[in-house]
Symmetry: C2
Subunit: 337 residues, 2 copies
């Protein structure tokens, strides 16, 4: 490995001072256009990359973005992570992963430990910790900027969100268009904002389709496969069982399918099932699951870009809406007589 190219070398090559090179690299004002050009050329020629540690030490910025999570879904997380990584590397930041425990106190403690150790310049939060009041309060105190992915409260702060209510509504309309009238819903984990939105969308869809809301057809789950199994058992024990089940995520939908098949019900002939998230698993179970695709990569990327923008300019940083897509597959079909 050759010896490192330093800012000093670039300065010499460009015939300016170190400080001017620094200005160009940091997009600071007050550099003449031709000077800027000379410097950029020298940088490219020497393939210069600033030394992160030196930068961070001198500038008291860490160039670190931490991604805080406690979401158990590996595929969801990996999507978001890749997006965050992409945005960070494009802007010469490093990404720190910070897995957190489930309970509120430990979330705060974990985040504080991270902040003390690594001094990140900003944080990206994923659900459900986007909705931990204690954490948000502490972050405000510490004055650390953060961006949220799908937070419950989208009225302020920055980040990225999807119209989940609308997606759930669309899903119910899809079922209704297949002739279903007894459409059940398995609610997600009560702590997640998504559970509420999806339930709301379900109710709005029913209303639009002219179907009376039946509380007996709505069962509490908690986003896990096992909770889907429990919910399905309850629903299929009903005297007048539903002809379709809309589970608030794919894992629970898989649980519903499991129970249906165990009871020798055919999916979708005897029972239509749909989920939410479009995990890889949803394509691999039989029958393949009708579900809603979230652009997790884009969500991670955009949230991070907003965060970085707001680090540079505290005025900026918005809540960005991203589109979803219904994935119609084999687990939903027309109602049979």
């Amino acid at each position: 490995m050759a010896v490192r190219v330093r800012i000093e070398d670039v300065a010499a090559a460009a015939g300016v001072s170190m400080k001017t090179v620094s200005r160009v690299l940091n997009h600071e004002p007050n550099v003449r256009e031709d000077t800027r050009l000379k410097v950029t050329r020298a940088v490219e020629e020497l393939k210069y990359t600033p030394h992160l540690s030196a930068r961070s030490l001198a500038g008291s910025k860490s160039f670190l973005v931490a991604l805080l999570y406690n979401n158990p879904s590996a595929s969801y997380l990996m999507g978001v992570i890749e997006g965050v990584l992409k945005a960070c590397s494009d802007e010469n930041y490093h990404t720190l992963l910070c897995p957190l425990e489930d309970d509120e106190a430990r979330i705060v403690a974990g985040a504080e430990a991270l902040i003390a150790r690594s001094q990140p310049d900003g944080l990206v939060l994923t659900p459900p910790i986007t909705d931990s009041p204690a954490l948000l309060a502490r972050l405000a105190e510490l004055e650390i900027p953060y961006a949220c992915v799908s937070p419950k409260d989208q009225s302020h702060g920055m980040g990225v969100a999807m119209d989940e209510t609308r997606a759930a509504y669309d899903m119910v309309m899809h079922l209704a268009s297949l002739g279903h009238r007894r459409i059940a819903h398995v609610i997600g984990h009560p702590a997640h904002g998504a559970s509420g939105w999806r339930l709301t969308g379900y109710r709005q869809g029913l209303e639009r389709a002219g179907i009376k809301f039946d509380p007996a057809l709505v069962v509490q789950g908690e986003f896990s496969f096992e909770s889907g199994v429990r919910a399905a058992s309850a629903l299929l024990d009903l005297e007048r069982r539903p002809s379709a089940v809309f589970a608030a995520n794919d894992d629970m939908a898989a649980g519903v399918i499991r129970v249906a098949l165990e009871r020798n019900l055919r999916v979708p002939e005897d029972l239509s099932v749909c989920g939410f998230d479009d995990t890889p698993m949803s394509r691999q179970i039989f029958p393949a699951l009708t579900t809603v695709q979230q652009p997790t990569y884009e969500m991670g990327r955009i949230a991070t870009l907003e965060l970085l923008a707001s680090i540079r300019n505290p005025e900026s940083g918005r809540m960005v809406r991203v589109p979803y897509a219904l994935k119609l597959r084999q687990s939903t079909g027309p109602v049979q007589e």
Copy 2:
């Protein structure tokens, strides 16, 4: 946020010089036991954490470990990642994630870019890039230490591995013990070492069970769900079709189950199916999949610990064996007449 505690403050509190504190923190020799104690106490009292950037700048170490991967399985990766994170944070290192593209040239380019930008002190490689000769050669040139997770060549280097051959052997013995004689195998992606080991284990199992190896029952796959579907179609089109299929991973096993159920075969009554990896999906499909569990978290953690040990002392760094576990579930059952 209060002002940072610096090494100077700790030195003052302990009544020693900065350098002595530094020595204690870096486990350097030549510090009297009581001095060491005084310092440790002061560190704890002041809750001192060394400033990573300053350390790295002064010591020309980056305290960074990069995890290179291009494995598409999110659950496998998340397991390894969490393990690496744990080991790193325990030793006050940071983890860098480095997703790489598939082809050899881009793997090397991606790794070089990472190394140039971030100067990691060491790398953790996951399959299949553990087996990229071009990359390994380049790393040797750059003299960057690396640890491998399940590399093809375990005769030298450090890292962690599982006896996959033995696990595959066990799986075949399990099928044989259920009375199966026509046991098919779907091979994994040819570039992965795992494919070879699992095939070898399959053949050893057959031999041990006194079953003649039948090339017609062995089909090439590539670890994807779709390749499992293709393989299963071929196998089930056979005149004398197998009574059991051992797929080299869970995704392909899911593909096999999909095809079987589509053809109205019952699993396991008409066809036993088993996989490898114990992905979360394997528990969520119907029927739940018999498979082999890899301790991914431990593997990531141990590989990283070996790496860090070898950074401190180039003499150390071994290839560690970790245990596996057969997960017997509903997708395998006794042969039916």
